[in-house]
Structures are given as structure tokens and as C-alpha cells.
């Protein structure tokens, strides 16, 4: 876990950080434009509405004064100031270097860290605690913002200094331990946390189901997982023909292949993979969203927020 303060001043790094900050702010501003404020009914001092009692509701939630006046059971509901602890898990393995076939497509990592910065900004604006875990080089780097004065800026600096390298850790407990440690360090400081939201930004490339294994531990802890699957356009279309030399980003393995002979199979396999990810947990705690590298990130973020509003 990295608890160091803001990194020393490095002109290129600062430039990237500033750029990332701007991108995040623009993303958030654009995504939030037109969205209505979220109302989460629950218990609080700020009254929202009465609701008729239904079997299964706790009797202590019944407004007895109203019962005395109306001789009916009503529950008093109010807007909740729910605090969601957001864990950003950013895949920084070698495959996130992929840029796609067209020149204007950004690297997957660039898109992923822009989205991570946007989520951090939103969390900071809402007063939610958030933390950043970067996965790459076979290890997990964690950054907790508990007790920090400028948590967003700290996260931005970490994101700015990130470069893709290596592979996902083979041991799936690495990530679970990192999440556990940051939650412990957060302790009782800050607002009371009612929900755990884990945002996983990855390209989904795994060699031995290591990503699925890492997510399994989150499912056991009843985390809500938002899976942002970054996909380059050439990965879902594979517009190559003739003999090509395939090279794996993370391992450097090569394979000579007849592209046109396997194109259809790859497209089907990619679609099946996306469907498999979308039904990974089979419940509402797992939300899957493919993010194509040539797609505006702002639209993706707005889609995420809309889904969260309905949640």
C-alpha cells in the first residue's frame, strides 16, 4: 500500500497529471449534464415521503404517530446520505498498451485511467472515500486516500505515472489482500460506509482466468462490481488478412497465422467472451460495460451513471 504524499515535482508527470485532471473534469461535467440528482430513499432526518407498510418491513420503521392519527401503518422514508466506498482497480498490464488499428485510437490504458480519474473526481465530489489499485508487473499497487487532504490529486498523480507492464498476478489473493488492507487503513475515519463499489477497468485479457479468480473474492465480500471492459476496435473486428505474425503483449509469444482463416472464429469468440463477462455473477451486483477504444468516454461514463441511478 502506498501512503506517500504527492510525488515530487516532475514537469512531464505534472503535465500528464494536469491533462488527466482536465479530462476527468470534462468527462464528469459532460456525463452529469442532463442527469437528475440521484435520490436514494432510506432513513435520515430529511423527510422524503410516507410509504404504506408492506409485509416484510421492519415494524420499528413504522411511524407510530401517523398510525395514531390515521390508524394505518406507514413507513417514513427520507433521502439517505449513503456513503459508497469506491475501489478503483486499474489494469496496467502490458496488454493495456494496445492502441487499436486506427491512428486516432488512444491506448487502452489512456482511456482506462481517464475513466478512473473521472470516477475519483465524482467520488470526491460526493464525499465518498475512494482508493486506487493498479495491477501490473505481476503485483498490485494500492493507494488509499483515507485522511488525505487532496485525494483526487493524489490519485491523479498515481495515474499519471502509470505505464503498462507485465502481467496480472498469478495469485488471485493479491488483489483481495490489497483491498482488505486499504479498507483496514481507512478504518473509522471519514463518513460511514454503507456500500462497497469496485470499479474494475481492464481489457479482460487473462492467461489462466486470473481476473475471474480475483473477482471471485469480491463476490464473496458482496462488493458491487462495475466491470469496464476496454476493447480496441481491431479486437472485435480483426480486419487483417493473409499471413500475420501474432505477438502477445504481455508474454511476447508469437504465432504465425492465416488471419482470414480465423477471422470469423475470433469475432464469435469475442462476442461470446463479452456475453460471458456480462453474466459473470448472474446478479445485480455485477455490472458489465464494454468500452470501445474509438468510442467517446463521456458517453460511457454517462451510461454508467444512468445505470447507477437506477440501481
Amino acid at each position: 500500500m502506498d501512503a506517500t504524499p504527492i510525488p515530487p515535482r516532475d514537469a512531464p508527470l505534472l503535465a500528464v497529471a494536469e491533462q488527466l485532471t482536465l479530462i476527468a473534469r470534462r468527462l464528469v461535467a459532460g456525463a452529469l449534464a442532463g442527469l437528475h440528482a440521484s435520490l436514494h430513499p432510506g432513513r435520515s432526518d430529511e423527510f422524503s415521503q410516507y410509504r404504506a407498510y408492506q409485509p416484510g418491513d421492519e415494524p420499528r420503521q413504522i411511524d407510530w404517530k401517523l398510525f395514531a392519527r390515521s390508524d394505518r401503518y406507514f413507513l417514513r422514508e427520507s433521502d439517505v446520505d449513503a456513503h459508497v466506498a469506491v475501489a478503483l482497480i486499474l489494469d496496467a498490464t502490458g496488454s493495456m498498451e494496445h492502441r487499436g488499428s486506427s491512428a486516432h485510437e488512444p491506448r487502452k490504458l489512456d482511456g482506462a485511467r481517464a475513466m478512473a480519474a473521472a470516477f475519483a473526481l465524482i467520488a470526491q465530489n460526493q464525499g465518498d472515500p475512494f482508493e486506487l489499485h493498479t495491477v501490473g508487473g505481476g503485483e498490485v499497487g494500492s493507494l488509499s486516500t483515507a485522511g488525505c487532504r487532496e485525494p483526487f490529486r493524489r490519485v491523479i498523480h498515481r495515474l499519471a505515472s502509470l505505464e503498462p507492464r507485465g502481467r496480472w498476478p498469478a495469485d488471485p489473493t493479491h488483489l483481495a489482500r490489497a483491498l482488505h488492507q486499504t479498507r483496514n487503513s481507512r478504518g473509522s475515519a471519514g463518513p460511514a460506509v454503507t456500500r462497497q463499489l469496485t470499479v474494475l477497468l481492464t481489457d479482460g485479457h487473462e492467461h489462466d482466468d486470473e481476473i475471474r479468480a480475483a473477482l471471485a473474492s469480491l463476490r464473496a465480500r458482496r462488493h458491487e462490481v462495475l466491470f469496464l471492459h476496454f476493447i480496441a476496435r481491431d479486437e472485435c473486428e480483426f480486419p487483417y488478412q493473409g499471413p500475420v505474425l501474432l505477438e502477445e503483449w504481455e508474454t511476447g509469444r508469437t504465432l504465425e497465422w492465416e488471419a482470414s482463416a480465423v477471422q470469423q472464429h475470433l469475432l464469435n469468440a469475442g462476442q461470446s467472451s463479452r456475453q460471458a463477462w456480462s453474466r459473470a455473477w448472474g446478479d445485480s451486483n455485477f455490472d458489465y460495460l464494454p468500452v470501445f477504444s474509438d468510442q467517446p468516454l463521456e458517453r460511457c461514463l454517462r451510461t454508467v451513471l444512468r445505470r447507477r441511478m437506477r440501481h
Binding site: E235, L246, A269
Partner: protein, 417 residues
């Protein structure tokens, strides 16, 4: 046989190595970097190597270069020259026995090819079953045909009798085939057909008895004696001219037999002659007449010679048919002997010398020689090479474009700096 007008053109075929080397040089494939090879490995379908995939293109290019090289080098097609033949020609009806059979087998052992001396010259499979041809078919035209068929330097041995009836017309001259005749005495087939020969006898006054003997023999042979018609056989005894009606036209006169001329010096000496297997005393004779010796007496001097005058055959007998000269006219075998000699039905089984049976040989190098079957000139194949090269070039371009279109890929992603 394929030849090049410019032999150094063979070196141009080395250009074929160029496309092969280029093909063997493995050009780097376009690199496509992917996040994971798992989906590819799940669909394991290794691409064929380029060597296998592009071999039609390589073959086309090699063939194109070969065609161009051959066109520049001047490709010509020369018909293959057959090697000289060595044949053993067996005359149909010939009975090969004893030493003749040994001679035949010895020739075969030397590599001579056994064939029938018959039209088509079929191979001898079974000596006993000769082809269905007339035994007396003229052999000289056949040998001339063999000479035209075979190449210079060929050699042939003919096994068969040397009956005069087999050799009609002028003795031919051959230029390619050296013929040697191995005389195999053979019993002629029996003659059953009536004679169609018309004979005439003219004689001088002092050879009345000779003429009577000849007439008696001819009558015994069943030969018709004519005086007013033109005979095909004439016995001219003594110094007496032939009637003008017989000699005009001369072509009707086939054969003339003369006895010893009156002016010749008579040689009195006891000798013997062999006719049709019998021996007769020869007490007087004259020097042999002009022509090719046919029969010889016990001293080896010819008593019957042959010369040709136009289409007529002239036999000169070196004695008279008189009892003072020889006993032969008094014997019963006199007509049978003449039958053997004359063969009234057209066959003349009188043997001739084997060296006279074989055609004259004058090899190709002889001045004025012209082959009767000129070899075809070499065919120039350069135009064909150019045509084939153009066609191959067109196909190569089409195939190359097709392969190149399939090989084109989108540039791979490059890592951001």
C-alpha cells in the same frame, strides 16, 4: 532431341535460382500484437508456410525464366537420329538346317535382329511359320526398301536361296545398307500349273541334231513350240540370226539361250557338269561366254553365263547339245534339268552367286549421293518459347496480384512512446 543454337544459353537457366532464393528468403510478416493468444490457440489452425502457400507462384516464375532463357539461347528440336540397324533377313520358305542354322543363330547372338524378308519386314517369331508371301517374290525391291528405311551404317544378312527368279530387273545399288547374302539351298516348291511359256528354236544347218534334242526336251516339258508367234524363250543354236518378227518389239523376248559359237576355239578335255543333282560327261567345250557365271564344270570354268540386253536375259552355254560334246541331251534328265533351269511357269531356280544376289553397296560418302529419305530439318522453337513466356508472364502477374491482395494487412498497432 532438344538443342540450343547458342550452347552458352544453358548458363541462362541459372537465372532460375533467383526466384528460388528470393522465395526461400523469409520476408518478415506483418506483426499484429494481441492481448492474448488464447482464442487463437483455441482454434488451432496453423497457417501453412509460405513455401507451401506460394509454390505455384514460384513454379510460374521459374518456368517463365526457363522459357525466356531457352528463347534467347535458341531452342531447336532435332528429330532423333536412329542408330544403325543390324538385321538378319530370312527369306520365306527357306529351310535353315545344319550349318546354315548355326550361322543364323550365330548372327543373332551377335545382335542381329531376325526379320522376314517380306513386305513390312515382320520380326521372325517362328521360323517355321513364314508370312503369307510368294516364295518367288522379288527380293531386290524389298532390299531397296530396307535401304531407304534404315540409317546409314546398317548391316543385313540375308538367309535364303539364290534362285534366279528371285532377282528380276537390274541389280540395285544401295547406299546405306550393306547386304551380305548367305546362300541356303532350298528345294523349290512343286509346280503343278501348266506351262505358259512359248518356246522357239532356231538353228544352223549343222546343228540339226542339237535342235532335235532341244525340241524333244521342250516337248517333254510341255512347252509350246511356236514358229509364227513371238516366243518368250528362244534356243539359238549356231550362227543363225533370230527372225525379225521375234525381236520387234524386243521387250516380248524374255530369254535367249545360245550354245557354243562356231567361231570359238573348241577345248577337248574330259570334264563333268552337275545338273539337277546328276553328273554328265563334258567332252568338248568352248571358253565361257560373256556375262555372270551361273554354273561351272568340274574344272571350275563356267559353262553357263548370263548377260542382260535390255529386259531380255541372254544365257551363253559353253557347249553344244550334241552327243559328241556331252551326254546330257541323251539322258532323260535333260528336259528335267531345263525345267529346273527355266521353270516354265516363270520360276528360275538356277542359283546365282551370293555376291551377285546382294545389291551393290555404295555408302553415303560416295560422290553424288543423295539420301532418298532426307532427314527433316531442326524445328526452331524460339517462337514457341516466346509465346509460352508471354502466357506465363500473364498468369504470373494475375496470380501475384491475387496473392498480394490476400497478403495485405492493416498496419499493426505500435506502442505509444
Amino acid at each position: 532431341m532438344v538443342q540450343l543454337l547458342q550452347p552458352l544459353g544453358w548458363l541462362a537457366l541459372g537465372a532460375v535460382a533467383v526466384p528460388i532464393l528470393i522465395h526461400l528468403w523469409r520476408r518478415p510478416l506483418p506483426v499484429v500484437r494481441v492481448g492474448s493468444l488464447r482464442p487463437f490457440l483455441a482454434h488451432r489452425r496453423p497457417s501453412r508456410s509460405r513455401w507451401v502457400r506460394e509454390w505455384p507462384l514460384l513454379l510460374l516464375r521459374c518456368a517463365l525464366l526457363i522459357a525466356l532463357a531457352l528463347a534467347f539461347a535458341g531452342l531447336v528440336w532435332t528429330p532423333r537420329t536412329p542408330s544403325p540397324a543390324r538385321w538378319c533377313l530370312l527369306l520365306p520358305g527357306t529351310n535353315l538346317r545344319e550349318n546354315h542354322l548355326n550361322e543364323w543363330q550365330e548372327r543373332l547372338a551377335q545382335g542381329f535382329e531376325p526379320r522376314w524378308l517380306a513386305p513390312g519386314f515382320p520380326k521372325v517369331v517362328n521360323r517355321e511359320s513364314s508370312p503369307e508371301v510368294s516364295v518367288e517374290a522379288p527380293v531386290w525391291p524389298l532390299l531397296s526398301e530396307v535401304d531407304r528405311t534404315l540409317v546409314p551404317g546398317s548391316e543385313a544378312w540375308v538367309f535364303g536361296p539364290t534362285w534366279r527368279s528371285l532377282f528380276q530387273g537390274n541389280r540395285p545399288t544401295v547406299s546405306r545398307l550393306r547386304v551380305q547374302w548367305h546362300d541356303v539351298p532350298t528345294t523349290p516348291p512343286a509346280v503343278s500349273e501348266p506351262s505358259s511359256v512359248r518356246a522357239g528354236v532356231v538353228h544352223s544347218a549343222d546343228r540339226m541334231l542339237d535342235a532335235d534334242s532341244v525340241r524333244a526336251a521342250l516337248e517333254a516339258m510341255g512347252v509350246a513350240l511356236v514358229t509364227h508367234e513371238v516366243p518368250s524363250l528362244v534356243f539359238q543354236l549356231g550362227a543363225v540370226p533370230l527372225p525379225a518378227s521375234w525381236t520387234e518389239p524386243a521387250s516380248q523376248l524374255v530369254q535367249v539361250i545360245r550354245d557354243a559359237p562356231e567361231s570359238a576355239e573348241i577345248l577337248v578335255e574330259d570334264r563333268r557338269i552337275d545338273v539337277d543333282g546328276e553328273t554328265f560327261a563334258l567332252r568338248q567345250r568352248v571358253a565361257a561366254g560373256p556375262g555372270v557365271p551361273i554354273f561351272r564344270d568340274s574344272h571350275g570354268d563356267p559353262w553357263l553365263t548370263e548377260e542382260r540386253q535390255g529386259s531380255a536375259v541372254l544365257w551363253n552355254v559353253a557347249f553344244r547339245f550334241h552327243p559328241d560334246w556331252t551326254d546330257w541331251p541323251l539322258e532323260a534328265s535333260f528336259p528335267r534339268g531345263w525345267r529346273r533351269l527355266l521353270e516354265p511357269d516363270g520360276r528360275n531356280t538356277a542359283p546365282i552367286a551370293p555376291e551377285q544376289a546382294a545389291p551393290r553397296f555404295e555408302p553415303d560418302s560416295a560422290p553424288g549421293f543423295q539420301s532418298s529419305t532426307p532427314r527433316p530439318p531442326p524445328r526452331d522453337l524460339r517462337a514457341g518459347c516466346w509465346l509460352v513466356g508471354a502466357a506465363l508472364f500473364l498468369v504470373e502477374r494475375l496470380l501475384s496480384a491475387w496473392v498480394g491482395r490476400n497478403r495485405t494487412t492493416t498496419p499493426t498497432a505500435s506502442p505509444a512512446s
